[in-house]
């Protein structure tokens, strides 16, 4: 059964987009002369381009679709993933951490770990990160194949093959620059494709007041206070009083501190975009520039979800409603695609679908460019073939692109067969990621931190995450992939999200404490080896001569003030 009927004009729009994507790759191919050109865009990207790419690299289709689904499930509280779970960390990485990432001239996050700590810490991070990117890219491919099959009746093999070939072609030709340019293009396409959707949806639901009134009914049907779907903080006093099943401390510490900082400050997928910027000042402004559109995205992706659930509970004039799955629960994941199909006529529908495809493809491309860099610099050059010519590593980068995409395709097919194995692998990677921010925080701001300390801390943090997950369970789940697999359930969380937040808090704290203890017991590196790598031994970047909007400090204040206001408006 296909949900959406495309017309000739829609195919023309889609084809036009593909032509431009490939054209960008072809136009850039002559500029890829060295490995730095291919992996780091020759460090020549202007701040605003790097900023939009920083935002878009994270804006894969799963993010777009997932956030709309969460908007339908949890209401405006989903904005915590933006206004507390992203912006503060983005400000932090720009203002405080970029001087070390960019200033040390490390070519990747694992390479920074090598410069700051030692080989084993780099190896651990490089290998887990490379594995994670391939899996994410494959799962993105799988999700796209599945979605296009349901919506348009396209063959799964066809969808996977076409997207793989296009992404391969433009990265192979134009390297990171190609990926970044396409991410910027995707950003504008998402805005152009979704803004009219929000407008039409809001009109259908009777504006913000109509939406609040309908969602009050939805909330009461689920046994919550009337404002539970439209007020982001007021119902966070206890997990039982909001649909997310979390309380404010778990949100602030687990999501706002550990998970968000862990992702935005250490994930090479996003940091790579800032490392490609054309100057230290541009690198520091990259996450800050990204923060402005980021704080507005809830209106583009969460609001449609809220509109969809409001119209499903109480029908509007146009009759839009979310379909139910076989087990009777609502199919939240189809929120955005179905709204596109419902409200958009031929023409706009093509644009909306193009935006969705663009975000799937740049989600894959972001992972593949991070993978080829870490593979080539941190695994191949570090352990397999040292001291070869730059041309050799450029060649390896292109081969790694082919290899990374082949592995993604393999992952996509593996997911169709063994969904559980993929879920398990993702869980393992989540354990590895949770403690990372503690390592970076100590590494950058406490010069006494040693390589042994960092490595032991990381490994124990990862183990702590696994143990915590293995001993706890979200309410209503059975023992297995959801937790409790260590034999006994010592704590039951009100929701899966609460369990995730607390797993992260445990992992971070363990890593933090163990790193400090082991560092104090081992010999630190001499100060001259750490110059440019830790806070107390690095010159502050100077930016006094610049106008305020080009200086990270004032920009950060503006970003934080605006985020605070948004939190207060929807409090």
């Amino acid at each position: 059964m296909t949900e959406i009927q495309l017309h000739a004009i829609d195919y023309v729009i889609l084809a036009l987009y593909f032509a431009f994507v490939l054209g960008i790759g072809v136009a850039l191919r002559r500029q890829m002369r060295s490995s730095t050109d291919f992996f780091l865009s020759g460090r020549s990207i202007p701040a605003w381009v790097a900023g939009l790419a920083f935002l878009s690299a994270n804006l894969g289709a799963q993010e777009v679709i997932g956030m709309a689904a969460s908007g339908a499930k949890y209401g405006i509280a989903t904005s915590h993933f933006y206004w507390i779970g992203a912006i503060p960390a983005m400000v932090f990485v720009g203002v405080f951490m970029m001087p070390f990432y960019y200033g040390s001239r490390a070519r990747s996050v694992p390479e920074y770990l090598k410069l700051r700590f030692d080989e084993k810490t780099r190896g651990f991070n490089a290998i887990t990160f490379a594995g994670m990117t391939v899996i994410s890219s494959g799962i993105s491919m799988y999700a796209m194949g599945l979605l296009l099959g349901v919506l348009l009746g396209w063959d799964f093999n066809f969808s996977v093959l076409v997207s793989a070939v296009i992404v391969l072609a433009y990265i192979f030709l134009g390297g990171l620059t190609s990926a970044i340019y396409n991410e910027v293009l995707q950003f504008f396409l998402i805005v152009a494709g979704f803004l009219p959707l929000v407008y039409l949806g809001l009109q259908d639901v009777g504006g913000w007041s109509g939406l609040t009134a309908r969602l009050a009914v939805t909330a009461q049907q689920h046994g919550f206070a009337a404002g539970a779907y439209t007020q982001s903080w007021q119902h966070m006093g206890s997990p039982a009083s909001n649909p997310m099943g979390v309380e404010w401390f778990g949100v602030a510490m687990g999501l706002g501190f550990v998970l968000s900082f862990g992702y935005w400050t250490t994930d090479f997928l996003v940091v790579q975009r800032a490392m490609a910027a054309d100057s230290m000042s541009a690198a520091r402004r990259t996450p800050l520039i990204a923060a402005f559109p980021k704080m507005m995205f809830p209106f583009l992706v969460i609001l449609p979800g809220m509109i969809a659930i409001a119209l499903t509970t109480q029908a509007g004039a146009s009759g839009f409603h979310l379909p139910a799955k076989a087990d009777g629960t609502l199919n939240y994941d189809l929120t955005i695609p179905l709204m596109l199909g419902h409200y958009f006529p031929a023409g706009m529908l093509g644009l909306g679908l193009t935006a969705l495809m663009a975000s799937f493809m740049s989600g894959m491309a972001g992972n593949v460019t991070a993978f080829n860099t870490v593979w080539t610099y941190d695994i191949y050059q570090a352990y397999l073939q040292k001291g070869k010519s730059d041309a050799h590593y450029l060649w390896m980068g292109r081969m790694a692109t082919v290899g990374g995409i082949a592995l993604s395709v393999a992952t996509a097919y593996a997911t169709t067969q063994f969904n559980n194995i993929m879920d398990m692998l993702q869980l393992v990677f989540a354990f590895v990621n949770a403690p990372l921010f503690a390592t970076f925080l100590l590494g950058m701001f406490w010069r006494r931190t040693t390589g042994h300390g960092a490595f032991t801390g990381l490994v124990s943090g990862t183990l702590a995450a696994a143990v915590h997950h293995g001993l706890s369970l979200p309410a209503g789940s059975s023992v297995g992939i959801k937790g409790g697999w260590l034999g006994s359930v010592m704590h039951t969380y009100p929701s899966e999200m609460a369990q995730n937040f607390w797993t992260a808090i445990w992992a971070w704290t363990t890593c933090f404490v163990v790193t400090i203890v082991v560092s104090l017991l081992t010999r630190p590196r001499p100060a001259e080896e750490l110059r440019g790598l830790v806070y107390s031994l690095t010159e502050r970047p100077k930016d006094e001569g610049e106008p305020w909007f080009r200086r990270p400090g004032p920009l950060a204040v503006v970003v934080l003030a605006m985020t605070l206001v948004l939190n207060l408006i929807f409090f």
Partner: protein, 90 residues
Amino acid sequence: MNLDIRLPIGGLFTLLGLLLTGYGLMSDASVYRRSLGHNVNLSWGLVVLAFGLLFLWMGRKGTSGARPAETEPAGRETEAREHRLGLEHD
């Protein structure tokens, strides 16, 4: 890098804008029942077109295209630092 990203973005959006606007002018009003009576192809097509033309114009002026790091003082500084520390890879 000498391809200014604003040119391809401007080009694509201009073409998309023309397509949508043209389709909006020609298509039958009944098509727009689903979009609550709004001819979104026409109205949004014009917005997309205007954005595309703006980007083409800014890209043609070519003020802040991608430049090598050495052309900015801050970039020269880091390049020099990198050179001093022997961190260049070639």
